[in-house]
């Protein structure tokens, strides 16, 4: 599908992990994440063991570790939030590097950070070793409600279209002397993101019209869904 060729999250390969059926990989990911989340954060030894498992899978898949690490920047806002917790939480205080922080806050921050990191790493590993279209097929085999799978497949189909729209809008902004990266121009950027939202919404309506015109009645026909 869309993203099949050179998708940013997919690392092409032929390892055993790549070849494994998608639905099993999805089950494994969900199981792993549930296990990580359910582990009390004070069981400090468990987490290095989990990390070893993920790294093991990544290495088996022959995906460069650095490749995964680079894509973990999505987690940064979450980590910033976790780092703030020790400063604002209540409870007994302790000294770390000369700063007074809350002890329970520190434990909470550790728990958040480590669980999120493991979850993101594991999800990236699934994405790196499974084509998006296979993920969808896997979800369908797992009997995820078809409406949800349809929504995801539309997202996948139109991701490139919307990204191209955004790229053209940013080029048009730059051509008129505006640097979308500079905070001074963030208001303009925000407005164009608003415009992008409206455009995508209108595109959604046009796609729906096109679907109705071809006899769509509310569910994708199984025949078209091979």
């Amino acid at each position: 599908m869309g993203a099949a060729h050179g998708h940013r999250l997919h690392h092409h390969g032929h390892s055993a992990v790549h070849r494994a059926p998608a639905h099993l990989k999805i089950l494994a990911l969900v199981g792993f994440v549930l296990l990580v989340v359910a582990t009390p954060r004070e069981w400090y030894v468990a987490f290095p063991a989990y990390l070893a498992v993920v790294v093991g899978v990544v290495l088996t898949a022959r995906v460069p570790l650095l490749w995964i690490v680079r894509r973990m920047v999505v987690e940064v806002p979450f980590l910033v939030f976790a780092a703030l917790v020790p400063f604002v939480a209540h409870g007994p205080r302790t000294e770390v590097l000369g700063l007074s922080v809350s002890e329970p806050g520190l434990v909470a921050a550790w728990g958040l950070a480590v669980k999120a990191t493991l979850g993101v790493m594991a999800s990236l590993t699934l994405a790196a070793t499974t084509e998006p279209v296979d993920v969808l097929r896997g979800l369908r085999r797992l009997h995820v409600p078809s409406l949800m799978v349809e929504i995801m497949s539309f997202m996948l189909r139109y991701l490139d279209v919307v990204t191209a729209d955004l790229g053209r809008m940013l080029t048009a902004m730059r051509s008129r002397g505006c640097d979308p990266r500079s905070p001074r121009h963030w208001p303009a950027l925000a407005r164009s993101l608003g415009a992008l939202f409206i455009r995508s919404y209108e595109r959604g309506e046009r796609v729906h019209l096109a679907m109705l015109s071809r006899g769509y009645t509310g569910s994708l026909p199984t025949g078209a869904d091979q």
Binding site: V161, G215, G223, A224
Partner: protein
């Protein structure tokens, strides 16, 4: 005469926001005709098209497709009979592969298995895209996507093909290839377009919609050479294009070899010829 494929009578429509788009449109298209629907922006062309397959419901008047009224209980059959190809192929191609996309329409109609495959391949062969059947649509060129969009509708075996701006954004070669395809199809065509040379090339008959009514209905050649009519409705030929200098017979509904001698005296004999100005009421 036989039952028209498209039979629009006194169609009026106002959008919920109060904007009145159509004021009593009458239009008849017969089997095998290729008709261009011309008119300035905001004339109501798209609104009219959306009535043909029941996306919009007539405020007044009626629409019938081969005798079947466009009403709620017939919608599925109406949408099979009227195939609309929208302007932006990215709106029309929403499945993962060309095959799935072309199969979408017929599968909605209940076609399955080998029958479905046959329809998909037949439709793709008609537009010369059979070899791309397993590619994702967005990896195709724009012209190829437009052709696949036509195939998605052909696969439903429609009685009338309605094209919204088929030549827009196409490079000249893709534009010509699409013209060849449209000419080769054995199907009634209604083509909404601003591309007047394209209308002259493909459609013997043109209907001009302006301000929500039909202001002219006649041979494309007569419409395009009626300067007063053209000026009155914001229609303009591209620079350097003169229908009078084009191959005689084109756009007149007469085969070129049997056409009357070229009416090249542009002195104005054709201008405002009474036959081309037609009031909506006179059409029936």
């Amino acid at each position: 005469m036989s039952t028209p494929v498209l039979d629009v009578r006194g169609l009026a429509y106002g959008y919920p926001d109060g904007h009145q788009a159509l004021f009593g449109v009458d239009l008849h298209v017969h089997r095998g005709e290729r008709v261009a629907l011309l008119g300035p922006n905001g004339a109501g062309k798209t609104t009219l098209v959306l009535h043909l397959n029941g996306i919009l419901t007539a405020g007044a008047g009626s629409v019938a497709v081969s005798g079947l009224p466009v009403e709620k209980q017939h919608l599925q059959e109406v949408r099979r009979r009227v195939g609309i190809v929208f302007q932006d192929p990215d709106d029309q191609l929403f499945m993962g592969t060309v095959r799935q996309d072309v199969a979408f329409g017929p599968a909605n109609l209940g076609v399955r298995g080998a029958d479905l495959d046959r329809r998909v391949m037949a439709a793709l062969e008609q537009v010369g895209m059979a070899e791309h059947v397993d590619r994702p649509p967005h990896h195709l060129s724009f012209g190829q996507r437009r052709r696949v969009a036509v195939a998605t509708v052909l696969a439903m075996e429609p009685e009338v093909l309605v094209l919204d701006e088929p030549s827009s954004n196409l490079d000249p070669a893709s534009r010509r290839e699409l013209a060849d395809i449209l000419r080769s199809l054995d199907v009634t065509v209604l083509m909404v377009t601003h591309d007047l040379p394209y209308a002259l090339e493909l459609c013997p008959r043109s209907v001009v919609l302006s301000g929500g009514t039909v202001v002219a209905d006649g041979s494309t050649y007569d419409v395009l050479t009626d300067d007063a009519l053209m000026r009155a409705h914001r229609l303009e030929l591209p620079f350097g294009f003169d229908p009078r200098s084009v191959r005689p017979g084109l756009g007149t509904g007469v085969a070129p070899d049997r056409a009357a001698p070229p009416r090249t005296d542009a002195a104005g004999g054709l201008v405002a010829s009474p036959g081309t100005h037609t009031n909506p009421g006179d059409l029936t």
